[in-house]
């Protein structure tokens, strides 16, 4: 069973639907006991870090995530779920889960292009340059684009944790991971064929990763 964590951070309908298109047993849950029984976890989310952390703690899902991480279950973080797995977020100066070392930073609002100031949030399709091979990224071609909507980005403490990068006025980590955890700043569930491929790869992944 695949558990999609519902901690009241945005609309999970599209994440659930994309997985349902690929796998028979998908459960959207707020229940730590269901999470404990799941074979793999999807940790999505949009919204503000502080509120999200408060909901996770109230529901006991912070603990459930820690346990799944320690137990080696495959975990996929998406968007906000790729941010609050780090130790701290600049969004509302929020202490986060700390599954991986690092922090969440704001995209530079003063970055400029030929057209003037970059718009924040970074919204739309952008390329991801895969910098490390990973089973979940198998088959994704150079130049593939994914759908982003965000104002903050994950900045892990070590370059070893960065699997993919994206350029938006600055280069930022758009795929991070270690061990049984992989997380994307973009939304694979809304990223067409290559997004679905990434989700399918995640479903096939045993949660091990050797560089």
């Amino acid at each position: 069973m695949i558990a999609i964590l519902d901690y009241e951070a945005g609309n999970l309908a599209s994440v659930a639907r994309s997985f349902q298109a690929l796998a028979p047993q998908v459960v959207v849950t707020q229940d730590p006991a269901v999470v404990a029984r799941a074979e793999r976890l999807v940790f999505p989310g949009v919204g503000a870090a502080r509120q999200a952390m408060a909901h996770l703690r109230r529901l006991g899902l912070d603990q459930a995530l820690q346990e799944a991480w320690t137990a080696g279950k495959p975990i996929l973080g998406i968007c906000l779920g790729a941010q609050i797995i780090l130790a701290h977020s600049a969004e509302g100066d929020t202490p986060c889960l700390g599954l991986l070392p690092g922090e969440v930073r704001r995209l530079n609002p003063n970055a400029r292009t030929g057209e003037g100031r970059l718009k924040i949030p970074h919204m739309g399709w952008n390329q991801v340059r895969v910098v490390k091979d990973h089973p979940v990224l198998t088959g994704i071609p150079m130049g593939a684009e994914f759908y982003f909507v965000h104002s903050f980005y994950p900045s892990p403490a070590s370059a070893d944790l960065v699997l993919g990068v994206t350029d938006y006025g600055q280069e930022f980590p758009s795929i991070i991971g270690a061990g049984n955890l992989l997380a994307t700043q973009f939304h694979p569930e809304k990223s067409g064929r290559f997004g679905l491929l990434l989700l399918q790869n995640f479903l096939n992944w045993d949660g091990t990763y050797a560089e």
């Binding site: 309908a13 919204m123 399709w125 952008n126 130049g143 290559f194």
Partner: protein, 259 residues
């Protein structure tokens, strides 16, 4: 770099697409679900549906369309038309849409933008603006006025002011439709699009007037639109999305070419 988005727009009445959309490929051109799937496979970056069903008690038909579309396409899509309340927004989002577009309801009750943004996040809330060129006056200093009812009812609001007000209220994106250009196929309203796009920190989707790929080039390169809405150009089979994208990429506009 971020790609410029191309967004086909489908008008839906009582669960069926309108206009004489002509297609080959054995698809039911009256079926919004099949049309959405077709455009998804053709490389649309996003899709917009406008529900032009006259009667509000038939809204459930559109919700069912949204549900079916959400099972077929895996790119963002927005739904507009007839959304007047937080409950209307919630129904559309839970059915699987990524964004909701509010237009006249927001003009009449601007707080709906703020309430929607608080409840669902700014990224969900698109402000649709129908705009008409008028003489510059104290009331309309930009010379562009907000209109509703398909352009028939001027609202006495300056378009530039309204765009900035919508940002303040929490809109995440603006879909900017020129009533003057709409249906002409002679090109987007570049002056208007540039004015609004440069004045707001959120993405602007240009709408109204597209007839040939060069019109999209103009609105991206000269007016700095972030996305362009297209309708008859592709609905009548004159162009494919792939051909439009190739034209633009060749002229230096960044496009999503792999899908």
């Amino acid at each position: 770099m971020l790609s410029k988005r191309i967004i086909p727009c489908l008008d839906v009445r009582d669960g069926r697409t309108t206009k004489g959309i002509r297609f080959k490929d054995n698809i039911d051109v009256g079926d919004p679900v099949q049309m959405a799937r077709y455009y998804y496979e053709q490389g649309a970056d996003e899709i917009v549906f406008y529900d032009i069903t006259a009667s509000s008690d038939r809204r459930e038909i559109m919700i069912e369309v949204v549900r079916q579309v959400a099972r077929e396409i895996f790119i963002p899509f927005a739904v507009g038309g007839g959304i007047r309340s937080l409950e209307d927004m919630r129904a559309v989002l839970l059915a699987g849409a990524e964004k909701i577009s509010v237009n006249s309801a927001a003009v009449k009750n601007p707080e709906i933008i703020a309430h929607g943004a608080q409840a669902f996040g700014s990224q969900c809330i698109v402000l649709g603006m129908d705009v008409k060129r008028v003489p510059v006056s104290d009331k309309i200093p930009s010379g562009y006025e907000i209109v509703i009812n398909g352009g028939r009812t001027p609202m006495g609001l300056d378009a530039l002011w309204w765009a900035q007000e919508a940002v303040r209220l929490g809109a995440g994106e603006i879909c900017l439709n020129s009533i003057d250009a709409d249906g002409t196929q002679t090109g987007y309203e570049l002056t208007l699009t540039k004015l609004i796009s440069e004045a707001v920190p959120i993405p602007v989707i240009a709408s109204g007037g597209a007839g040939v790929p060069e019109h999209l080039y103009d609105v991206f390169s000269q007016a700095h639109a972030d996305a362009a809405l297209i309708a008859s150009m592709v609905h009548f089979g004159t162009y494919t999305i792939a051909a439009i994208k190739q034209h633009l990429q060749a002229k230096g506009i960044k496009m999503r070419l792999l899908w």
